[in-house]
Amino acid sequence: MTIFSASRLAIALAAALVLAGCSGGDTPAEHSSADRAEGHTKSSAGLPAGHIDAGEKLAHVKGKATGQACVDCHGADGNAPIDPTYPKLGGQYYDYLAHSLEMYRDGDREHALMSQQAKDLTDQQIADLAAYFGSRPTHLRDLHGLP
């Protein structure tokens, strides 16, 4: 009995080591079925339509918790961040911006300022801000057609 238990332990240990050795290899670039099944619980698809004008106003209003407006940190049009760790927002996909704000609001992404800034936003405000910054000129690009 003890011999059998010892063998089982050895097998388990060996298997764990082998598995550890196998991890960290290739990962698929596309989204896997597991990714779709368990990756996200929030959906930006459920947001109302955003209004650029309302978003522009809101982007210049100081947040209660931080005392900062969006453009105070991300710069005019979201294109001139005051700190190199802050992203450019201008011309970013509106639905990615909305998703990011939802993640901050709902505590799924954390940042000392952004979590505070986003926590009281309504769905409509998120949609408006995303529409505004998404409509600005951009300094960003995707990786399509690179040399």
Partner: protein, 131 residues
């Protein structure tokens, strides 16, 4: 008394023992050198990025970030434009994905496959990208 699966257990043990031996040999560092991972962890500063090396590393990124208008599924949103963001922002993003502080299964898996040097190289390449 009959013991269950004696042959199978022996075979499995034998096979796995070889695997364990191979694993041990492969991962045991030479005694004279310090462990590089520990040294890297102890240094707070990120390594200097090489844009040229970053260019080679971003081949996989193009599967999603290189398709204009490509959408993430559930929830549906466009995969962000990342070319032209600052090196610091990109480094933070990849590091947070690697630690699991930022959540996205594909990005977490990708980031976990990168070393700190890889992340610095990728950030250097993407941040220098012009329109």
């Amino acid at each position: 008394m009959t013991r269950p699966f004696p042959i199978a257990a022996c075979l499995a043990l034998a096979t796995l023992s070889f695997a364990v031996l191979a694993q041990t040999e492969a991962t045991t560092p030479p005694a004279t050198e310090p462990a590089p991972a520990a040294a890297a962890e102890a240094t707070p500063a990120m390594p200097t990025g090489s844009a040229e090396r970053g260019r080679q590393l971003t081949y996989t990124c193009q599967g999603c970030h290189g398709v204009t208008g490509y959408k993430n599924a559930y929830p549906n949103y466009h995969v962000p434009r990342i070319g032209g963001q600052s090196a610091q922002y990109l480094t933070n993003a990849l590091t947070e994905y690697r630690k699991g502080a930022r959540k996205h299964p594909t990005m977490q898996a990708q980031a976990q496959s990168f070393s700190e040097q890889d992340i610095a190289d990728i950030a250097a390449y993407l941040s220098e990208m012009k329109q």
